[in-house]
């Protein structure tokens, strides 16, 4: 069974659903488009699944609010536009993308890992003085190509999973051995199809090889956030054969995080994840 080429894979990626309309509107508002908050809140509220999930997080202990929030409009006012936009994007990506069946691939673990990476990237934003929303989104989408590979080519992906388990190697290494490319290239192609900003596409493309990303880009931060999510076992409860990615020393040094900053990032990541995981339904 000959694996598809990258071009064939990307050709199939075009058949996957487009981003939900509400997510596109949120993205446009992130890009600085002049969108009325009331209108945005009304549009988000039309999706009951997304609204329910976002309100569950807004009412979680992480935000420690004194009274219960009952609407998206109130959530934007009380919790802030930035946080709510991130939550809406997460909820819409998670509910809008297709599911597939592939023995050995746990979609629940997949979503927990990408949400953990998004939260870790968001926690890194403050000490690194970078935009938290963009980092959250890049973290959320960094492995989206893997989901596409699994959905589009489940038989090939089963072979990849079996090889990774047998050789105790990283999944991306097994992907490269089997397909000749890995999920990061597919993630970038999907983000391009969804017209995401160039800095997010770059971060998705190079999160495993950050030295090749654009100078001063986000790939190095997503590279480290991915490591944090694995190291904190955010994808499950400490039983899986998960393993740490190799962290690029130059990238880690360039981030320049001291012991106190790193500890604060770990604590914030854990606390935020405990609240945000209710997004997973």
């Amino acid at each position: 069974m000959k694996p598809p080429s990258l071009d064939e894979m990307i050709g199939h990626v075009q058949k996957l659903p487009a981003m939900p309309a509400v997510a596109i509107e949120v993205l446009q508002s992130m890009a600085g488009a002049d969108i009325d908050i009331g209108t945005l809140a009304r549009h988000i509220s039309q999706d009951q699944v997304i609204t329910a999930r976002v309100l569950r997080v807004a009412n979680s202990p992480f935000y420690g609010l004194q009274s219960r929030i009952g609407s998206i409009h109130d959530a934007i006012v009380v919790v802030g536009l930035s946080a709510i936009r991130s939550l809406v994007l997460a909820a819409s990506v998670m509910s809008g993308l297709p599911t597939g069946r592939c023995p050995g691939f746990s979609q629940k673990r997949f979503w927990r890992h990408v949400l953990g990476t998004a939260v870790a990237a968001q926690a890194l934003a403050s000490p690194l003085k970078r935009p938290p929303e963009v980092l959250f989104l890049a973290g959320l989408l960094h492995d989206i190509g893997r989901l596409a590979m699994m959905v589009l080519y489940p038989e090939h992906f089963t072979t990849v999973l079996a090889a990774a388990a047998a050789q105790d190697c990283r999944l991306e290494d097994a992907e490269r051995s089997h397909f000749g490319f890995d999920h990061s290239e597919v993630s970038a192609a999907l983000a391009q199809r969804w017209n995401f900003p160039a800095d997010i596409i770059d971060a998705l493309a190079w999160h495993h090889r950050p030295a090749l990303g654009m100078p001063g880009g986000l790939a190095g931060i997503i590279h480290y956030a991915d490591g944090i999510a694995h190291a904190l076992d955010l994808d499950q409860n400490g039983e899986s054969p998960s393993q740490m990615p190799s962290l690029d020393q130059d990238t880690v040094s360039a981030l320049g995080l001291g012991w106190d900053s790193l500890n604060a990032v770990l604590a914030e990541t854990r606390a935020r994840f405990d609240s945000y995981e209710t997004l997973l339904g």
């Binding site: 202990p61 105790d168 904190l232 990615p245 995080l257 500890n263 770990l266 606390a271």
Partner: protein
Amino acid sequence: MSENLTQPLGETLPGAVLAAPVTDSTGAVLLPAGLSLTAAHLESLQRRGIDMLIVCPPEDPEALARQHVKIRERVMYLFRHTADEPGSQALLHAVLAFRQASGK
């Protein structure tokens, strides 16, 4: 089994686990029982004028030591191919300390 402790906020350290929810004057829950308190939680409670907390008693030292060993084994398993790499050192040590302190 040891009884829960009612103690001043100022004497509570990060890592303490709430034995009862923290509520405000209206009875609304600010933080749930079972939550492991962080420094940010403690600062937030101070700003809201909370002065007393009910926390779980400190764990049995032997149980704590067993938990630390289990967490160390898990973290070293995750870093089994990368523990010696220079880029991993800071995160390995920070994660080990954080997970042992938080019990997660």
